[in-house]
């Protein structure tokens, strides 16, 4: 089974990278761009076929290591 994990800075926390990229896009003429948020994408191959177990284990991985829940949100999808 594969987990696709997305980690992003929380909505209410300033994302300096996102702001810089937004500024660059505006300079380039892409005025339609509103807020930009930059995050991380991770793929984890899991040695399990038990979906419920995988969900609980990946949640624990995110809370303990993959995201810093003080400033980041996470979500993930399970495939296979």
């Amino acid at each position: 089974m594969k987990a696709k994990v997305y980690v992003t800075i929380k909505e209410n926390v300033l994302d300096p990278q996102g702001s810089a990229v937004q500024g660059a896009l505006h300079t380039m003429g892409f005025e339609e761009v509103g807020k930009v948020r930059i995050g991380k994408y991770m793929e984890l191959n899991l040695d399990t076929s038990d979906r419920a177990e995988a969900e609980a284990r990946v949640t624990a991985m995110c809370e303990k290591l993959l995201a810093n829940t003080v400033v980041e949100d996470f979500r993930f999808e399970l495939e296979g």
Binding site: V13, L14, P16, V70
Partner: protein
């Protein structure tokens, strides 16, 4: 008094910390590898700056699970003095020993220069040799020192006098940190984290010796606890 300087793969201020202890207060100091499983011999633990584990994932994210960190947590619980500098501060927040987190600098640049700091709380074991409100000159060198915590945590920090240093002066915040915070303590006051580098400010040849008194403060606090002669 005995100091430990923790060395992670990628630490690069460990030698500066070690030398600062030797040169400012002449106390015993050891490098302690990140795999160590016993810190009971030490009275103070310095978590140095650098790029532990290459800053992979997030600054300090992987270091928080190094074997030695269990011992750092135990030492914190035992009331030992723990000082995290720069990456050390990031590691202590990741490990939950200090509240909040360090984000990317608001200006996106790695900032490396002298910075005036205000001593906001001189009542800690790390700052007792400074005057309240004193402005000291200490260098910074970081890309991710933008301190953030939620409103509730900030209110607690202020109520418990846990803000130890702020960047001093108007428009002088180098990284966008909340309320110009440069360093904080835990509620008990025995764990401090700061982005600026006092260990790089221990001799006029380095541009400032204002960092010296952090080390004399720690020794002073330890001697007071142990009933030994106080270093005036």
């Amino acid at each position: 008094m005995k100091f430990a300087v923790i060395v992670f793969p990628g630490s690069n201020c460990d030698i500066d910390c070690y030398k600062a202890v030797e040169d400012t207060i002449g106390q015993e100091v050891d490098y302690v590898w990140y795999t160590a499983t016993d810190l009971s011999a030490y009275d103070a633990i310095l978590v140095p700056g650098g790029f532990s584990y290459g800053d992979y994932l997030r600054c300090g994210a992987i270091a928080q699970f190094a074997p030695v960190m269990n011992e750092v947590v135990k030492a914190a619980e035992a009331g030992k003095f723990i000082l995290g500098i720069c990456n050390g501060f990031q590691i202590l927040t990741e490990a939950g020993l200090l509240p909040g987190a360090l984000l990317r600098n608001s200006g996106m640049k790695f900032r490396c220069h002298q910075t005036p700091l205000e001593v906001v709380n001189n009542g800690t074991a790390f700052t007792n040799q400074y005057s309240q409100g004193e402005i000291i000159n200490i260098p910074i060198a970081h890309g991710e020192g933008n301190y953030y915590c939620d409103d509730e945590t900030l209110a607690q920090l202020e109520a418990n006098n846990q803000i130890v240093f702020r960047y001093a002066g108007d428009d002088n915040n180098p990284n966008g940190s909340l309320k110009n915070i440069a360093g904080i303590s835990n509620e008990r006051g025995n764990v401090v984290g700061m982005m600026p580098h006092p260990e790089r400010a221990v001799d006029q040849l380095l541009g400032s010796e204002d960092g010296k008194r952090m080390f004399t403060s720690i020794l002073n606090a330890w001697r007071e606890q142990h009933g030994a002669a106080v270093n005036g």
